[in-house]
């Protein structure tokens, strides 16, 4: 649904990375559940200078339900990578609700709607609709990604409590105490009800 509350064609209106995502958007539209596609990128790994090394953009955000959804219909290797990212996200942003939708969940959804014949063409590598224009980044990508993040304001100069830092990074310019205080401020700003200390 768009902001005016009228339906839109999710395929025409968005560039999805995978056909399963377009189908999922169709289902949400059908049941009149508002959604946004990859609206937010979460940093999940920083170096000692606070530069973002890795980030994660869940596929969907359902604003009315305050729920992020990550679909994965690809092979097990990528599922493990997604699992790790989701686990990391939950550790760093405990107030965020995210559900990982696995291939078996998607398959069951298609079965429920009598569309099991589409499962193979909407799953795995067959379902990829083009080069991934992902806003996600991995450690191999530069820390510049952190400067172009979208979403809620977050102090990217510091990592939330518990953030993994790259041991290979040269040095931290601040004292450990100053860094911890800044990290706590950033974490508290993002997750006010967090129990992290």
């Amino acid at each position: 649904m768009n902001e005016a509350g009228t339906p839109r064609d999710p395929v025409a209106g968005n560039t999805f990375a995978h056909a399963s995502e377009a189908e999922f958007a169709h289902i949400l539209d059908f049941y009149q559940v508002a959604w946004e596609y990859e609206p937010q990128v979460f940093p999940i790994l920083w170096d000692l200078d606070g530069n973002v090394l890795e980030s994660f953009a869940p596929d969907f955000f359902l604003p009315d339900l305050e729920l992020f959804i990550e679909l994965t219909t690809l092979q097990q290797r990528l599922v493990r990578k997604k699992n790790r990212k989701v686990r990391r996200l939950r550790e760093l942003y405990p107030n965020i609700r995210i559900k990982l939708f696995y291939a078996r969940d998607f398959r069951a959804l298609m079965l429920k709607y009598g569309r099991s014949a589409l499962v193979s063409e909407l799953s795995g590598t067959l379902g990829q609709v083009g080069p991934r224009q992902s806003s996600e980044s991995g450690p191999e990508e530069s820390a510049a990604a952190g400067r172009s993040l979208v979403g809620r304001p977050l102090d990217l100069s510091t990592a939330p409590v518990g953030a993994t830092v790259d041991a290979r990074a040269s040095h931290d310019r601040r004292s450990r105490g100053a860094r911890r205080r800044a990290v706590r401020r950033a974490a508290a700003a993002y997750a006010p009800n967090s129990t992290a200390t």
């Binding site: 064609d9 395929v11 539209d29 059908f30 078996r104 709607y113 014949a117």
Partner: protein, 186 residues
């Protein structure tokens, strides 16, 4: 879709026997009767899957009650064209404003249909609205909705029987069973 003449042969495992379901429905009816004592209740069932549950449940509730039926379209779009929006195929036959409504569902999995129905029914200004579901499959939940009366929490499997279908078949099984993959895999 292939299915055998003896439908029970397509079932890999009986999850909930007829006796178990009967006992649970009686228990739910007793609880609902106690909770709504002194009030008049409207049971709203969602076609088609809830029909057997509704029929059994209403006979276990010792209250003056009305029943009503609704049917909504199910998702069936394609990946390449818009499938439109969920539609009310059969609306309530009587107003529910000021009434206590209990929505009777066969199974809650994603919660998408229930979420839509609750929003729709709340717009008709009932005095209260609660949900009674025979089966709850929380592993598939997308929309978290409190379910006031739950019969059974079931594992993440494709179940049929006691109203639940696959391709409109198996609804008449007296138990709830897990469908063999061969029955739905081509």
């Amino acid at each position: 879709m292939k299915h055998t003449q003896d439908l029970s042969e397509d079932v890999a495992e009986i999850l909930l026997s007829e006796d178990l379901i009967r006992a649970k429905v009686a228990e739910l009816g007793k609880r609902i009767s106690a909770d709504y004592a002194g009030r008049e209740l409207t049971l709203v069932s969602v076609l088609k899957g809830s029909l057997p549950f509704m029929a059994d449940l209403m006979r276990q509730i010792d209250l003056p009650l009305r029943i009503d039926l609704m049917e909504v379209s199910s998702y069936g779009g394609t990946a390449t064209e818009s499938s439109g929006l969920v539609r009310i195929l059969k609306d309530l036959s009587a107003p529910i404003d000021g009434r206590d409504v209990l929505l009777v569902e066969d199974i809650i999995d994603t919660g998408l249909t229930l979420n839509y129905l609750l929003r729709y029914l709340r717009g008709k200004n009932p005095r209260s609205i609660k949900v009674c579901a025979l089966l709850d499959k929380p592993a598939r939940r997308l929309v978290e909705i409190p379910i006031d009366y739950v019969g059974f929490e079931i594992p993440d499997a494709f179940v049929v029987g006691y109203g639940l279908d696959f391709g409109e078949v198996y609804r008449n099984l007296r138990f709830v069973g897990v469908l063999r993959p061969e029955a739905y895999e081509s």
